[in-house]
Symmetry: C2
Subunit: 553 residues, 2 copies
């Protein structure tokens, strides 16, 4: 018998509140939402999604004498962990057996690989007993694979047929939901009668749009990071000794950094999207940071907190160029890569690569610290690409800041003392106990997924809306996955994808940040969110992110 | 008006429960505890503490018609932040004015420096309104200075006289409480009528003994670190991709690492004291880690979590030697230091230093990664000592592990894939909202401090005991600081110090760890403590550390 914590048991016993819209579950049937047709105008997409491009948004209405047949549903957890994944599955399971007691649920092991290889376990009431309202994806594990090649598609179809699935749930981010859309089309084309449903998951918060208000896991991750950042703000405000450079997980979009900035009022927060918009160079960013440090030093303050989105480096023009050039130069199978791999000394590699780069990229490459040059050359992904997430961006910035401060000190423009600490928050926030918000949101998402399958709807994303209001008032819908598609160049060819939603510089969240950031730079207006609470006053235990409230209230 | 969080307000409103022993405050007076005399037998200490070595433990009893005179008390926060510092001050303030409404409290700014320079603010009810049950030390700030030289002693005495203080509270760790003992003696010798009282503070948990059950801040810090470690355990158990090397703050003792191991069942935890006891070399530690990784790889598991106490490096024999030799070699003002400082290249410095070291230290120095060699030479404290806390121990271990795994792979003894992430948790846990335990413990400590001053007791440490029981049942005492003293060589001369209490390999906490660690290595028996809760079931919101329960129950 595993030894567990009291909180673990308390959370197992937690019963997510159901939106009123889900309470008469067995009477619900999907109906088209008249006012919101979402058919796609893009001809290319119409060609790629011949069966699903015409789909409209559906909602669910109580109808007399709805007949439910037993369902056999498979579920895939795809990509990085996000708090609430287990609750999607419990919500799905509970709804399936409520709709028909003979329904069965299967979980594919290790992400889409489990679907391709037909490695699955049956998910039962018993099994779920240990996972209700718990963090992690460990019930079936997750993986980064997609069902992409024709061979993989056929394998997935075989699995679906072998298990006689009527529904297939893909819980994942933009790429995985794109994959769900493609699969839905594929199965329709091949006459395989399974309903594919996507669920919006990512701590990054970039899978959202007009209808989808939030991806699950964002709430919990932001709360945990904000707790820690708030603690560090209070610590540095007490010790008055260090600048803390805090890198935050989130590959492309800066939603996490922005939410944490609003929650903690850290002295400075880099927003990747703004950096790209303004075309800011590393030198300009460095100047801005150093200007703040110098002004604070003049006030006698040699401490502060900076938030850095993990993906920022890809938004700085010269690094973007550098990364692109490196990826081209050292593409898998190329001559240059072979030459590079034959070299034993890191210095030789750096010299060799520098010679091949164009002026701007070269200047950028030679200006960065040696350790980061090595990281860019040595840590490459299976496609030969630079692994941006492995670049220690916070140290890169730090080195640039130290150099610039030294220059200013020599000139007498800076009189402070610069000491620092670096941090990276990411893994701490992905598999935590889901906040009450994520627990309830995910449970509802799972129930909506069951309804979509039950109503024979394929190629849909589950949608639970009106999230800033009490759970009882949340509404439920199904949004056609095809309606979220755009064409983008991927690996050189036009590909249908669900676009990541980046931080909107005109959005209310960014505007609030912009209106206060000068004040936060100099005044120590720190805000301390504290740890996620599951009990106590509802304003604390059931609150949502500020970003969500600003966007939707 | 500062924008604050709902939790901030809820915590301001939280009223710490008072031990029954403190409820009739105005009737209490210190009385000697007959059965526990603690006078010191060491002749040398008797000579150094002629006025206080004979003191015995006191407790407090209700007496009829106790007369209280107004007190003027100064308070110093010393050293690193620990959750609950503000509550010591609110407890002290509330008790002082309850004992006599004309009493006044002064806070010295920036630690002992404020005492030496007489930089103080008056602490009032109004001021305290914002600090009740809040994290950080920012009400008056903290500092690392001690009152050491004769000149500083005189300056402190002048401050005490200028402010007409009747009491002086030093809130700090072992060194600061040693300093409090010395000050108490000094003031008695010079006829300065002020009562010096020490309060046990340190997240490291190493300031405890027969009477002092816990230093404050340990509880909150361990809970926060355990929350994060638990989250990472669940994440890696879901993703099955990484070994997480997690370094934990705590300079000498491994109490934090041990408590976190018991709370989370991480796969392996290094305990510095055990490493020193067994005289384990870096190679032996590396072998043990790699043995675990290889065994897990054979089970198909290429993931796990390792906890590393920050100070471990000083307990590894060859590093201890190396650090001592480096400190001697590069002592401030020496020729070698000058020579070193004249060199511009880091490589030259490393070569120069290697030549001067003895065989063992030299072998150790040349075997470690370049970046860590540089850290050891470049980052030196004001005394010229190696800054052990700046050495990236987790990376040092990681490099050693990578090398060894590579060796085994070549030999065919290891078939796994080794990917890793490193973390350092420390600053996140020092200035957090104090847990209910720390909030109530500190509030009681502050009240006991007021009683000691009121009873004209000097050279005492506040003591609140029976902590594993409900707050109501906690007992209160004063322990003579002199009774905790031992003589130790510091900077080459015998010095009275309060000894740090290290992890006891025969203690119940370590025994529990030892009995389970083989199981935790291979089975993924992770335990998820989750975030600190302030509300909800008392078993969750008011629990103590497991170490405390094991030691005292």
């Amino acid at each position: 018998m595993k030894e567990t914590t009291t909180l673990y048991h308390e959370r197992l016993a937690f019963q997510p509140v159901l939106p009123l819209a889900l309470r008469e579950l067995t009477q619900l049937k999907a109906v088209p939402l008249e006012e919101a047709s979402t058919t796609i105008s893009d001809a290319e997409l119409q060609k790629l999604f011949p069966h699903t491009w015409k789909q409209g948004i559906v909602t669910f209405l109580a109808q007399p004498e709805v007949v439910h047949r037993p369902q056999r549903v498979g579920v895939v957890l795809s990509g990085g962990q996000a708090a609430g994944g287990h609750n999607v599955i419990t919500g799905l399971y509970d709804a399936l057996v409520k709709l028909h007691p003979d329904s069965r649920l299967f979980g594919f092991l290790g992400g889409a690989t489990g679907l391709i290889d037909n490695e699955a376990i049956e998910i039962t009431q018993d099994l779920l007993t240990e996972y209700r309202n718990q963090g992690g994806f460990d019930i079936i594990g997750s993986g980064r694979a997609k069902v992409e090649t024709e061979e993989q598609m056929q394998a997935a179809e075989k699995t679906v047929k072998d298990l006689r699935l009527t529904g297939l749930l893909i819980i994942g981010g933009d790429d995985s939901n794109t994959n769900a859309a493609v699969l839905a089309e594929y199965f329709l084309a091949s006459g395989c009668d399974v309903n594919v449903v996507g669920v919006p998951k990512t701590i990054d918060g970039d899978l959202k749009n007009e209808h989808i208000e939030a991806s699950f896991g964002f709430d919990t991750a932001c709360k945990i990071f904000s707790e820690l950042i708030g603690n560090i703000c209070r610590d540095t405000f007490s010790a008055k000794k260090y600048y803390h450079f805090i890198k935050l997980m989130g590959r492309s979009a800066s939603h996490i950094a922005l939410e944490c900035a609003l929650q903690t009022h850290a002295n400075m927060t880099l927003i990747s999207e703004e950096i790209a918009d303004k075309g800011m160079t590393l030198q300009q960013i460095t100047t801005e940071i150093c200007d703040m440090i110098c002004r604070r030093a003049e006030m006698g303050k040699n401490f502060g907190v900076l938030l850095i989105p993990e993906g920022v480096i890809e938004f700085i023009p010269e690094f973007k160029d550098l990364i692109t050039e490196l990826n081209d130069l050292l593409a898998k199978g190329g001559e240059d890569l072979k030459a590079l791999e034959a070299m034993s000394s890191a210095q030789d590699k750096v010299r060799f690569v520098s010679r091949q780069l164009y002026e701007d990229a070269k200047n950028c490459f030679v200006s960065i610290p040696e350790s980061i040059q090595h990281e860019m050359l040595l840590d490459r992904d299976p496609h030969g690409n630079v692994q941006v997430s492995k670049i220690e961006t916070e140290k890169l910035l730090l080195e640039a800041v130290r150099k610039e401060l030294h220059r200013r000190k020599v000139l007498g423009e800076y009189v402070g003392k610069f000491s620092y600490q670096t941090h990276f928050f990411g893994y701490e926030g992905r598999s935590a106990f889901p906040s009450n918000f994520d627990a309830q949101y995910c449970y509802a998402l799972g129930q909506v997924a069951a309804l979509l399958v039950d109503s024979n709807m394929t190629g849909y994303m589950t949608c639970v809306g009106n999230l800033v209001n009490d759970v009882e008032q949340w509404n439920i819908k199904g949004i056609p996955l095809s309606s979220m598609m755009v064409m983008e160049k991927r690996h050189g060819k036009p590909t249908p994808v669900i676009k990541k939603t980046l931080v909107d510089p005109k959005g209310k969240a960014f505007q609030l940040f912009e209106n206060h950031r000068e004040q936060w730079k100099l005044e120590d207006d720190y805000r301390y969110p504290g740890p996620v609470q599951f009990f106590g006053p509802r304003e604390i235990s059931n609150n949502t992110t500020l970003s969500l409230r600003l966007e939707r209230q």
